[in-house]
Structures are given as C-alpha cells and as structure tokens.
C-alpha cells in the first residue's frame, strides 16, 4: 500500500485490432483509500496516431506527461515531422532509463499506428524503461491482475474498431470494479488510420 505505484491508484490498457488500436484508462485519483478526484485521465496524445497511457504516482504521471510534451514538441520542431509510435516508444524507454537509480514511479503504455505502414503498434514499459512489445494487449496500473484476466479471456485477433471498443471497454470496466483503487469512469480511444474516436464511459461511481 505504501508503494509509490499504488498510492494514487489507476489502470490503463491498450489493445491491438485489425488496422486499429485502442487505449483506455480509468479516471480515479486517490490518496490510499480516499478518492480525491473522479476526473484524472491518464492518456495523453503526442501525435495524430501516438498515445501514451501513464499509471502510477500521480505527481510523476503529470510530470512525465509534460516532459514528453516538451520532448515531442522539440522533436517536431527539429525534424519538421510527427513522431512515429515506435520512435516515441524508444524515446520513452531511454528517458526512463536516464533515471535508472531514481526512477519515475510510472508504468507507461504506448499505442498507435505506424505512419508508414498503418500497422497497429502497442508496447508497455517498466518504470526504468524496459520495453514490452506485445502483439495482443498491454495492461498497467493497480488493476493489472484483473486486466490480465479480462484481456486474456475476452481479446481475440483481428477485432474491428467497434468490436475492439466493446472488448477493451468490458475488459477495463470489469477489471476496475474488482480493484478498490481504480474506476470512477473511463476514457477509451479507438485509433484508426484517419480517425480517432474518444469515448467517456461512466462506469460504477464507487
């Protein structure tokens, strides 16, 4: 309970579909058992098709998301192009490893589409930047076990955007309902080639 990763609570999940990806997070911000806010999104956008989910210590979530805002802005100015999801993931990895002996207490998740091939891309990280390239789904936060159970049984290959939305939403909602530190609504992003759909899920408010 006193682990920095589980003081504020929160959950995030990303999934691969057919020519699309999805990323979703809960909205709770807490201090141990006390809920402080029910509007604390944990997903940030860094390009047309690049999304980062951050769970863990809320102060680090805010700081790290701003740090990557700065780094990605600098990248865009310098290179006169948007950052690709894979390049962004490597930036996340190297930035986290810079703090090898005093890490940010966050578990990032990246989701996006490769701008060149349109291929879905997701990956997750530990707090010091080791990348987990997954072909199916990535989970992070205080509800990881529940999310693993849900995703492992609900996910299947080549889901279309609508099916993927249903799958990721059910996975997240049912997982956070079994985690006292997560929940209070959710944000879901469905990322397609020329379209990003963001939906707000109400979920249980307890």
């Amino acid at each position: 309970m006193s682990s920095p990763f589980s003081i504020n609570g929160g959950a995030c999940v990303a999934m691969v579909g057919k020519d699309c990806v999805a990323i979703a997070c809960d909205l709770r911000l807490g201090l141990q058992a006390l809920t402080v806010s029910n509007n604390f999104p944990k997903i940030f956008q860094y390009g047309d098709n690049v999304f980062l989910g951050l769970t863990g210590l809320a102060t680090d979530v805010a700081t790290v998301s701003d740090l990557f805002r700065y780094k990605v802005n600098m990248y865009r100015l310098r290179e006169e192009r948007q950052i690709a999801p894979r390049t962004f993931s490597n930036l996340v990895s190297s930035s986290l490893y810079e703090r090898r002996f005093g890490p940010w207490f966050v578990s990032p998740v990246v989701a996006g589409l490769d701008p060149k091939t349109g291929q879905p891309f997701i990956c997750g990280f530990d707090s010091i930047g080791c990348i987990d390239f997954a072909k199916d789904f990535i989970v992070s936060g205080t509800a990881t076990e529940q999310l693993f159970g849900m995703c492992e049984s609900l996910w299947e290959p080549d889901l279309g955007p609508d099916q993927l939305f249903e799958t990721i939403s059910q996975s997240l909602l049912n997982a956070v309902d079994r985690d006292a530190l997560s929940g209070w609504g959710a944000h879901v992003y469905i990322i397609e080639k020329d379209k990003v759909t963001k939906r707000l899920l109400k979920g249980r408010q307890d």
Binding site: R78, R81, N90, L91, S93, P115
Partner: protein, 277 residues
C-alpha cells in the same frame, strides 16, 4: 588559467566580415576537389586521392567516411580537421540520436549536428574554425506511406520517381557544410580547388530523373576534367548511397536486418566503371 582568459579568435572585421572564416574557405579552396551527385535512387560521392609522395601507400588513405549505415561524407580542405569532424559526427549520431530513439538520424539532422559543431568553432574561445567543407550524403527512411507520396507527386506534377529525399518522403539527400556552419542541400555539387570548373561541368551533364549508374558515370567524367594525376582504382575514391548492401551485414537470416545503404566502391569496382567510361 588558459580557459579563464581565452577569447574567440574569430572576430568581426569593421566591414562586418569574419576573416577567419574566409581564411578557412581559402584552405578549402586549395583542397583536392570532391563532388557529389544525387540520383533518384541514390547518391555518388567522389574525390581524388592525391598523395604527396609516390612512395606513399594509397590503399591506407581514405577520404570518404561512413558515419551511419546510411550516411557517408567526403571533404575538401584540411585532412586532420576532417578526421575530427568524422569522429564528432559518428559520436553525435549515437549520443544525440541512436541512443535516444534507437534509430539512426535522418541526413538533415546529422548535417545540422555537424554544422553546429562547425559553427561553435567560429564563436568559441581559443579555437579556430575547421578548415574543411563537407559533402554529406545519406538515405532517409521517411514516414509517409507510399501511396501518399505518389498522390502528393501527382498534385505537384513533378517527378515520376518514387522518392525525392527528405525526412517525410524518404530517399537520397545530399548536403554541403561549410566552415561557417552553413549548409545547403544540392542535386549535384563540388567543393575544393576545381569546384567552379566541376560545377559548370555538372550543370551541363546533370538531368532530372538520373539513375545511380548514370550518376557514377557523370561523377567520373567530372573528375576526369579536373584531376591532376592519373585516374585509376587506386587514385580515386567513390562512395555511393544505393540499395541496402546485404552482403555487408555480416549476418544472415536475422529478421528485419537491413544492410547499409552507404558503401565505398572497391578499387576493382572503380576500375570496372573506368573501363566503361
């Protein structure tokens, strides 16, 4: 104590010129000619290997250098200064890019980094500008999907070839960097002693939609116009940016591994081109 009272040697003259930089350009203009030609599917860099003595072993001399697997460069001017810049370019392409993004820098980014190194030498205390101009040639992967590139080219009604270079589309890029730190993209250019003659020649021979093989041919013809000594595989040096050279990878069967696009031609390959000239 030297660092406390060190002043920049490059200072403005009353007329607004930085004469140190002009001196550096003079050094470049006394250097052996080097040239670069961009084709649709690659680039050629070429220069003469001039040794001061007939006793020197030409095979140990190398003026064209590999910076990243897809980027190489050549110089005109002072050899020792060039080697320092090669070291810096190789270093900065890793520390400033590969170690951060796990991919090699696009050509323009590397050019900017090298240009910054050269500019800093014009404004820092206790140093002199680098006495070289560089030709940097590289291939960028690009991030746009293929069909989008074709659509864009259709609009502009320009080239029929797939790529024209640059960070977005990908393809070959050729830059010149000067001692002042300024840099220019070129379709074809030359630096050094006979740069003017060579450039006039290139203007005549260069056409849009050039293929790499034609470019190598033109490069050799241009070099022939300006060369002082004999022309053979030992006395000239050629580097090309072309299709991935899988035979240089050193490994086989590794998924996703792509060979380097920049490679130097062997004396034998150069001889072959020369016989067909």
């Amino acid at each position: 104590m030297a660092d406390r009272y060190s002043f920049s040697l490059t200072t403005f003259s009353p007329s607004g010129k930085l004469v140190q930089i002009e001196y550096a350009l003079n050094a470049v203009n006394q250097g052996v000619t080097a040239l670069g030609i961009k084709a649709t599917n690659g680039i050629v860099l070429a220069t003469e290997k001039k040794s001061s003595s007939p006793l020197a072993d030409p095979s140990s001399l190398s003026k064209i250098s590999l910076i990243t697997p897809n980027i190489g460069m050549v110089y005109s001017g002072m050899g020792p200064d060039y080697r320092v810049l090669v070291d810096r370019a190789r270093k900065v392409s890793h520390t400033g890019y590969k170690r951060i993004y796990n991919e090699y820098p696009p050509t323009r980014i590397l050019v900017q980094d090298v240009a910054r190194v050269m500019q800093e030498a014009t404004q820092s205390g206790g140093v002199r500008p680098y006495g070289v101009s560089l030709l940097i040639a590289g291939w960028d992967e690009g991030i746009l999907p293929e069909e989008e590139i074709e659509a864009k080219e259709g609009e502009e009604g320009k080239k029929l070839s797939g790529k024209t270079g640059g960070i977005l589309k990908g393809g070959p890029m050729l830059y010149q960097v000067d001692p002042s730190g300024s840099y220019f993209p070129w379709k074809a250019t030359a630096i050094g002693k006979s740069a003017t003659t060579a450039k006039t020649f290139l203007e005549k021979r260069y056409t849009e939609g050039l293929e790499l093989e034609d470019a190598v041919h033109i490069a050799l013809l241009t070099l022939k116009e300006t060369i002082e000594g004999e022309m053979n595989g030992e006395t000239i040096e050629i580097g090309i940016v072309g299709p991935p050279a899988h035979h240089l990878l050193g490994v086989e069967g590794v998924e996703g591994a792509v060979g380097p696009r920049f490679r130097k031609l062997t004396p034998q390959e150069i001889e072959d081109y020369l016989t067909n000239l």
